[in-house]
């Protein structure tokens, strides 16, 4: 009998677990197909489709997956490739939300800059799928692949603005360093594979449960390199060097999305690998995360102090926020992770809102992103200045905003784990953060823009998309600041299942 005749056993396909991802990918492919057949002149249609795709995926995940997932333990599908549990569904919903915000923001940006190629939305959808798969991945290969999909899309999106050398430079730098790190991470995965014999995260946990290696060098090195790969993605110090240049060069809507999406995916994977897979080695990887958290918070804040470009300052502030989230994960407990999840949600809204404003103020060709361009903004555009001030205070963690509750929850997670040093350093970093946000506020309110006539003549036009984004993000930041109970419950349930 020829080889072909032998029946290949049917693959285990349980599509119900990955419906949201399929919807997102489907929409992406649909857009690519439509572009191939007939380009509409106004990319608004594509934006609409993309937004609908995201919304549909989000709603399906919330309505269908969330109830059944949060009660029982994780259900594994595709022969262990994917784990659908409360945690992953939470991240899926969050990525859909981030996706919708990114689409709304991008629409007006692309038209204004004359880059209206709808592939932007397709890539956005693919990257969101990457984030979702990364959260669901129960196999190291899946983590790697999802990370690569996400990264490739982000490389392209960073280099999207062909007319600005800075954007291309940003894309190139991100790609070079990204490829370099993915190679290192892959090397780590090979060591883990070599050391434990399996690539499946759940199996990893069982492996450590069954037998104790007297010589764990190989597994340690593997674990370390994987952590390095993910640390690069969340831009934790010392792997943060790419972030400031890419945040400054890349288009504002992309940065708004990237800052959130990359962190969501990386932290999800980090948590799943370390907390679920290598929980036996907790005593080893906890100091690693401690180091990353402390370095990121302090170095991020210090560098942000001396910046003269707003987007670059935002980059460093996002590095220090990565440090705060890392505190939650470093607590290696359910409370810590639920705190980190809550922080991620609030951070997504805050950074999206902040960059929406920066984009509006930046006007065409993002020419006005220097501190000096923000001089006396309150006199010129009071509403925009007020909204940006609100976001800056939220990022700084002033009470009444979700930023404060996020920091508080993360600190409480750390307190649960007894890490007082982290809380101490965290509060110090928060104070330094206050200082560099204050510098910008001082410029906006207390300086006048008399010697900058060019600032005055063009009024910053806020298009429909960014307006909606601003409304949604401000509302979310205020609501989560005053009544965070709802989201805290969700985050708790998400982590409770593990």
């Amino acid at each position: 009998m020829s080889v072909l005749a032998q029946a290949i056993p049917a693959p285990q396909t349980d599509y119900t677990t990955i419906i949201p991802e399929l919807i997102v990918l489907g929409t992406g492919l649909l857009i690519v197909l439509m572009l191939a057949i007939r380009r509409f002149s106004n990319i608004g249609w594509y934006a609409l489709i993309a937004a609908l795709g995201f919304a549909a995926a989000g709603i399906v995940a919330y309505v269908d997956l969330w109830p059944e997932v949060t009660d029982g333990a994780a259900t594994y599908a595709f022969s262990g490739m994917v784990a659908a549990d409360g945690f992953s569904t939470f991240v899926v919903i969050l990525s859909c939300v981030a996706g919708v915000l990114a689409v709304l923001l991008a629409n007006s940006y692309l038209k204004r800059e004359g880059l209206d190629k709808a592939e932007y939305f397709a890539l956005l959808l693919f990257s969101a799928a990457g984030v979702q798969f990364m959260a669901m991945a129960n196999n190291l290969v899946m983590v790697f692949l999802a990370l690569e999909i996400l990264s490739v899309c982000l490389y392209v999106l960073s280099a999207w603005n062909r007319d600005k050398f800075a954007s291309q430079e940003a894309g190139m730098k991100y790609l070079l360093l990204g490829a370099y790190t993915s190679a290192i991470m892959l090397f780590g995965i090979s060591f883990l594979y070599g050391g434990t014999g399996t690539l499946n995260i759940a199996a990893l946990a069982q492996f450590f449960a069954r037998n104790v290696l007297e010589n764990q060098g190989l597994v340690f090195l593997g674990m370390a390199l994987v952590v390095v790969g993910l640390a690069f993605k969340i831009a934790a110090v010392p792997f943060h060097m790419w972030a400031p240049d890419v945040y400054q060069g890349a288009p504002a809507p992309v940065v708004g999305y990237m800052a959130a999406a990359a962190k969501i995916a990386a932290f999800a994977a980090l948590f799943r690998i370390l907390f679920l897979g290598l929980s036996a080695m907790e005593v080893d990887w906890k100091p690693l995360l401690w180091g990353l958290a402390i370095l990121s918070m302090i170095v991020g804040s210090l560098l942000a102090l001396v910046q003269s470009d707003v987007k670059r300052m935002m980059a460093y502030s996002s590095i220090s926020h990565a440090g705060f989230i890392a505190i939650g994960v470093a607590a290696a407990s359910a409370e810590g992770m639920s705190g980190a999840l809550f922080y991620l949600v609030t951070y997504t809204f805050m950074i999206a809102g902040a960059f929406a404003v920066i984009d509006c103020i930046g006007r065409k060709d993002e020419q006005y992103t220097k501190y000096e361009d923000y001089r006396g903004l309150f006199a010129r555009e009071p509403l925009l200045a007020a909204i940006l001030t609100f976001f800056l205070f939220a990022l700084a963690g002033i009470p009444g905003t979700s930023g404060f509750v996020a920091k508080f929850v993360v600190f409480e997670g750390a307190a649960e784990g007894g890490q007082w040093a982290l809380i101490g350093i965290g509060t110090v970093a928060a104070v330094i953060a206050l200082f560099f946000y204050l510098r910008l506020i001082v410029l906006m309110y207390m300086q006048d823009s008399t010697e900058r006539p060019d600032l005055a003549e063009t009024r910053a036009r806020v298009a429909a998309g960014p307006a909606v984004v601003l409304a949604v993000t401000v509302a979310a930041t205020v609501l989560l600041g005053i009544l965070p109970q709802g989201l805290l419950d969700m985050a708790g349930q998400a982590v409770f299942a593990l």
């Binding site: 409480e412 307190a415 965290g426 509060t427 805290l488």
Partner: protein, 548 residues
């Protein structure tokens, strides 16, 4: 009284907090920014309404109960053990009253502000609401939220409407207090978590935990350093003179009148009751800090050549009395420190308003701008200024004297030499006040521009006269106030004494042989103790259950 009975469950604190905030939001949204004066009038109206409620609260307050009254309890974030708990007791009653009393005057006093009057009013009203919240909150988390929120409006008040070097002053103010609140946040998270039972930030729950000594020390110093930034005590004080010199009149009045009290209030409400043993241990250091503050600030005040900066230093000196009295941990001392806070709030706010009136005319509060002899041109102004100067110097018959006497007598019992050194503050106060008065008002008129100055007009008098009347009234008849403060203070002090009985602190409480036969209530009788526990139980509202 029927009125008191009817309003025993009135949510006073929530009203006091949210009327100004809602007013601020409404004015902010509805009134166009061109119509600054309309916004200003509405603002005064809202704050007067708030004052009315404060007065109602004062009347409805049951004078001889030591426990929290008008308690409001509802669950807010049960997940983290945080509840929306508000309550008023003897300690916070008169601070709320002071805030309610000062804010309408502040708005009235800042009539001259031209730039963005609407935003100014909105910020001031928001500040009033938040400061009421600080005094009313009995949940650590809620307290911290209001504590931080006070930063933002004051920052903008100083930063936007301030004097020439306002930016540096505003940033310095913000960073100092933020640094303080960094300590505070870390301590609050730790306390909430380390207290026995489920994670909870309700102080009635936490007060039951007897923390181990070392944790108690760390937590105590976490809270205290956070608060000392705000008081300010000498090493942490360098933000105050700048903030005062650059702040607009309303800003300075608020800074002196209410903002400094938040730090001390925190000490009385949280640091001492929650960590009694650490508090008793730290008594010598803190009293020393207070006394150093008194003498040091008084000496430095003499060499200031800006009237506002001088008054700022005097308020540091007065707050030194408050800290000293507080950490004497005797009923007299603590009661004296609360009364001194009230007195200092009135007199220093009055002085700032007065300097503000001159600033409106001459746009400078340098002593050289006065140049002496102003008394000949503005006699009424000089007279009122002299009255306030005497009040600030602690002349008997006016409020400050009662405050200073109580703190001194309270501290002398346990710490003789500290009280004696502090008493020299009385001499220094007399010297710098009258010397300032001579440089401003006596002698011939040297500065030509002052010749044509008009004396105080009706509006300005409407601002300063109520303060003067209160300063005199509280000096002559402080009983009405002291009576209400005493039960709560007594409870705190006896609580601390009971909890630190074990340790042999050199903590001296004078024998209470007051002839009047008024038996000072020692630890509440056992039967009443059970009652207390039940009361606290009902009051605490543990995190989980949602109650009305």
């Amino acid at each position: 009284m029927t009125l008191a009975a009817a309003s025993s469950d009135m949510p006073f604190v929530t009203l006091l907090v949210f009327i100004p905030i809602v007013g601020a939001v409404l004015i902010g949204l509805l009134v166009p920014s061109r119509r600054g004066d309309l916004a200003h009038v509405l603002g005064v109206g809202v704050s007067l309404l708030n004052l009315a409620i404060v007065i109602w609260l004062l009347v409805a307050f049951d004078a001889d109960s030591a426990k929290f009254q008008f308690v409001e309890r509802s669950s807010w974030i049960p997940e983290l053990g945080i509840g929306y708990l508000m309550g008023v007791d003897g300690v916070s009653l008169f601070l709320l009253a002071l805030t309610g009393f000062l804010f309408p005057l502040m708005l009235l006093g800042s009539y001259h502000i031209r730039r963005r009057l609407k935003h100014f009013t909105v910020l001031v009203l928001f500040l009033e609401g938040v400061q009421m919240g600080v005094f009313g909150a009995t949940d650590l988390f809620l307290f911290f939220i209001f504590w931080e929120l006070t930063l933002v409006p004051v920052y903008f008040l100083i930063g936007y409407w301030g004097g020439p070097d306002r930016i540096r002053a505003a940033v310095k103010f913000f960073i100092f207090t933020a640094l303080g609140s960094a300590f505070l946040l870390a301590a609050i998270v730790a306390t909430g978590f380390l207290a026995d039972g489920p994670v909870s930030f309700n102080i009635n729950e936490i007060i039951k935990t007897d923390f181990p000594l070392w944790t108690q020390r760390i937590l105590f110093w976490g809270f205290t350093i956070g608060f000392l930034f705000k008081v300010p005590v000498v090493p942490f004080h360098s933000w105050l003179p700048d903030a005062h010199t650059e702040a607009p009149t309303a800003g300075s009045a608020d800074l002196a009148g209410v903002l400094l009290k938040i730090g001390v209030f925190g000490l009385i409400r949280f640091s001492i009751p929650l960590f009694p043993r650490a508090a008793v241990e730290a008594v010598p250091i803190l009293i020393a800090l207070g006394v150093v503050g008194i003498v040091y600030a008084a000496l430095v005040a003499m060499r200031q050549d800006d009237a506002k900066r001088l008054i700022a230093y005097t308020s540091i000196s007065h707050m030194g009395f408050v800290v000293m009295g507080l950490f004497a941990l005797t009923t007299t001392g603590v009661q004296g420190s609360i009364f001194q806070m009230l007195a200092h709030g009135l007199t220093t706010a009055g002085l700032f308003f007065l300097v503000g009136f001159f600033y409106d005319r001459r746009h400078s509060h340098e002593i050289a701008a006065f140049g002496g002899g102003v008394r000949t041109v503005m006699p009424v102004y000089a007279g009122v200024f002299l009255f306030m100067a005497f009040a600030s110097a602690g002349l008997p018959g006016l409020t400050n004297f009662v405050g200073e006497a109580l703190t001194l007598f309270g501290t002398f019992v346990g710490h003789r030499w500290f009280a004696i050194v502090a008493a020299t503050g009385v001499i220094l106060a007399g010297i710098y006040m009258l010397w300032l008065y001579q440089r401003l008002f006596n002698g011939e008129l040297t500065v030509e521009e002052n010749r044509g100055l008009k004396d105080l007009n009706a509006r300005e008098l409407a601002v300063i006269v109520p303060i003067a009347v209160l300063v005199l009234a509280l000096g002559i008849y402080p009983k009405w106030v002291l009576e209400r403060i005493e039960p709560s203070v007594d409870r705190i002090v006896t609580e601390v004494e009971r909890k630190t009985e074990g340790t042999d602190q050199e903590y001296v409480q004078p024998e209470q042989t007051s002839p009047g036969g008024i038996e000072v209530e020692t630890a509440p009788a056992p039967s009443e103790a059970e009652h207390d526990e039940a009361e606290d139980e009902a009051l605490s509202g543990t995190g989980g259950e949602v109650s009305p």
